[in-house]
């Protein structure tokens, strides 16, 4: 089945729409520069900001410019509106699903108002839009899609590509008629300081794959693509590109570093090629994740070399243009890939000068490749997107449809059943973790991480399983306790000295990836953060994996915690107070009756 891209929208550091982005790409003009909109003390750090104030964006969306709405939701709504306008599809009577990749969500608003919220009840509703799920709902409504079903995936910096993967899977399974998938992420002081505590931000412009590379520059933005199965004849000409294949794997190596041989990235690229039915030689361009950190670029290069051998197609990282827009980068780069296909050019790898033995040699201004393709020979591209915890994903995007009905595609259909289950709701139980985890290993684990690990390990043991084929986590807030500690420390003691241990546990996908690291599980790895709907989405995904034969066993977890601060806020708003700790792990397998 061909998944078609009927339209796209984009807003990022190099332009507020696709034509502006195209112009900057062709002119080799970076959007990274001194900080202007973000209110941080770290003026020494260059950033790739969207060149609009929140008031500008509110005006563009027809809202009162004094309204307080997260920049994440504002940029996302702008990109979604553009994408819908671009696709010009008849949406009447269609099942529309919006899938958003984000991690920061409403953090930019929360970090501005949290201290005042402690006294001012009037500000409390702002916190209701803090979490990923609520922020996605708000953004979707702003974009004029109040009737659409919404879902948020949060796998850190690969979130947006995983949103596109989920959308494609839903279309193939007939669960939706039109999917709008992508991601959005605003710069926040929270994650700027978090990345800074990990010492991976460069004070100069980033130089992906260069010998002197010393880190990344953060960016922000949003991009969405409109996906459909097949269009009616009159709409066929509007297809902008095709999603031929994709892979979602886990490096299962380290929370903030990639393995030396890039195993997760390698497997994701191989899966994407296999699904597309293509050989490495069929790929004409790779848009690398290429963040500019010494570790990522060397690891990604190793993985690319493993897949492509001696014949590596032109590769570039476009993060020298946009900065690293974290959860949104995969969608931004997908749109950049489609622009490259439509306009037959290769985006250059800005900032690259000196080769590094550990890295591939990227496409730069060196004229080593033709930068224009006169004969439409740029037809198939690969887009890589990797996240903390080793959540590695890749897409194969093409300009022409692939032959339909390849052998084996979607031919399986299995029913899923529950093999085992385990629940941890009481912190007292956490001492039992010692059975599975040594003291030295658990010293950095937060309470929820301990609970998630314990319920996962016990459920696996009950199912008699050492390692599942896939791991899927549902969480509304992620590890709220560590996020709140980091945030409070930043607000009370300033942005100077913050703990990397707290930050690296603040991304929602930390739970899923930490369990994968423990089990050395390189399979499919996904995190859903859609409020109280998160578990439903996770189970739906697990059942789809089992139905299509992509996994025989899936570990699904629902892990959430509420801090006293959050409980108090819910109480003040007169809402049901969420429990302190809740961790439930379910092992799904193939139903024997169906085999």
């Amino acid at each position: 089945m061909n998944i078609q891209v009927a339209g796209y929208g984009i807003i990022c550091a190099i332009g507020n729409d696709a034509s502006a982005v195209l112009e900057s790409l062709k002119a080799g003009r970076t959007g990274i520069g001194p900080m202007h909109y973000l209110q941080s003390v770290h003026k020494e750090l260059p950033v790739g900001e969207v060149k609009l104030s929140n008031a500008d964006m509110l005006r563009m969306l027809g809202q009162d410019e004094t309204t307080i709405i997260s920049r994440t939701a504002l940029m996302g709504a702008i990109a979604i509106r553009q994408a819908l306008h671009h696709a010009r599809l008849d949406t009447g009577g269609k099942r529309i699903v919006l899938i958003n990749g984000t991690t920061v969500a409403g953090m930019d608003v929360t970090e501005r108002f949290l201290r005042q919220m402690k006294e001012d009840d009037g500000l409390l509703p702002l916190l209701e839009k803090h979490d990923c799920g609520s922020s996605t709902r708000q953004m979707t409504d702003l974009a004029g899609l109040a009737d659409a079903e919404v879902c948020t995936v949060s796998t850190a910096c690969s979130s947006a590509v995983n949103a596109i993967i989920l959308g494609s899977e839903m279309l193939k399974a007939g669960e939706a008629d039109i999917v709008i998938a992508g991601g959005t992420e605003a710069l926040s002081r929270f994650h700027l300081n978090g990345f800074n505590s990990l010492m991976i931000l460069d004070k100069q412009l980033c130089r992906p794959f260069d010998k002197s590379r010393a880190g990344l520059n953060l960016g922000e933005g949003a991009a969405f693509v409109v996906l459909t199965r097949s269009l009616v004849k009159s709409e066929e000409l509007r297809v902008k590109a095709y999603i031929h294949g994709y892979g979602n794997r886990c490096d299962a190596f380290h929370q903030t570093a990639s393995s030396e041989d890039g195993e997760g990235a390698y497997l994701a690229m191989c899966d994407a090629l296999q699904m597309a039915g293509l050989r490495p030689a069929d790929i004409h361009y790779i848009n690398a994740h290429g963040t500019g950190t010494p570790n990522n670029d060397a690891s990604e290069s190793a993985a690319i070399r493993r897949v492509f051998g001696q014949k590596i197609p032109p590769v570039s990282s476009t993060k020298g243009f946009t900065g690293h827009a974290t959860s949104a980068c995969g969608a931004i780069e997908t749109v950049i890939c489609i622009l490259a296909l439509q306009h037959q050019f290769l985006p250059v790898n800005l900032g690259w000068k000196e080769p590094d033995e550990a890295c591939i040699r990227p496409y730069s201004n060196s004229k080593s490749f033709n930068s224009e393709f006169k004969d439409s020979s740029l037809r198939t591209v690969l887009c890589n997107s990797f996240g903390f915890g080793g959540n590695d994903s890749a897409l194969v995007i093409g300009s022409l449809p692939r032959p339909l009905q390849r052998r084996g595609e979607q031919s399986e259909c299995h029913k899923a059943c529950t093999l085992a289950e385990d629940i941890v709701t009481d912190a007292e139980q956490l001492s039992e973790l010692r059975e599975f985890v040594a003291a030295g290993e658990s010293r950095r684990m937060s309470r929820l991480m301990k609970a998630a690990t314990l319920s996962s390990m016990r459920a696996l043991r009950k199912a008699g399983l050492e390692c599942p084929d896939a791991i899927i986590t549902a969480t509304a807030y992620g590890m709220l306790e560590t996020s709140e500690k980091f945030l409070t420390d930043m607000l009370e003691n300033g942005e100077e000295v913050l703990s990397p241990t707290l930050f690296m546990q603040s991304t929602h996908n930390t739970l899923s990836s930490a369990i994968a690291i423990r089990l050395k599980c390189h399979g499919y790895n996904m995190t859903y953060s859609q409020g109280s709907d998160s578990l439903r989405w996770a189970l739906r995904d697990a059942k789809r994996l089992i139905a299509t034969g992509k996994a025989r066993t899936v570990l699904v977890g629902l892990h959430d915690e509420a801090t006293p601060t959050l409980q108090n806020i819910f109480r003040r708003m007169g809402k049901p107070v969420p429990p302190r700790l809740y961790s439930r792990s379910i092992i799904l397998g193939r139903s024997p009756a169906n085999d």
Binding site: S197, L198, M199, Q255, T256, A257, A439, G440, R443, R444, E496, V497, L498, S499, P500, T501, M504
Partner: protein
């Protein structure tokens, strides 16, 4: 110097949550990294950098610089002695 070593041991134990390590067994010359000694890793390096800035006003811009300094508690103490701002 001995007092500084004692302070550092306690600060490192707390910052890195090394619950099971008793201060008596925490040898000032034991290698902090690798399998032979205390067994710390790259995230611990970042936490020690945070600790040095908070407690002693020492700012290390590059974790690579830290390699020689962070060999053992004694090497850290020597570095702190020479560079402390508070």
């Amino acid at each position: 110097m001995e007092q500084l070593i004692k302070d550092l041991k306690l600060q490192i134990k707390e910052a890195l949550n090394l619950e099971e390590l008793s201060l008596e067994d925490f040898d000032a010359d034991a290698p902090l990294f690798g399998d032979e000694g205390i067994g710390l890793d790259s995230i611990d390096v970042l936490e020690i950098i945070v600790l040095l800035e908070k407690e002693y006003g020492i700012r290390l811009a590059n974790p690579q610089e830290g390699k020689a300094i962070f060999k053992s508690v004694r090497t850290i103490a020597e570095y702190v002695q020479a560079n402390r701002k508070k």
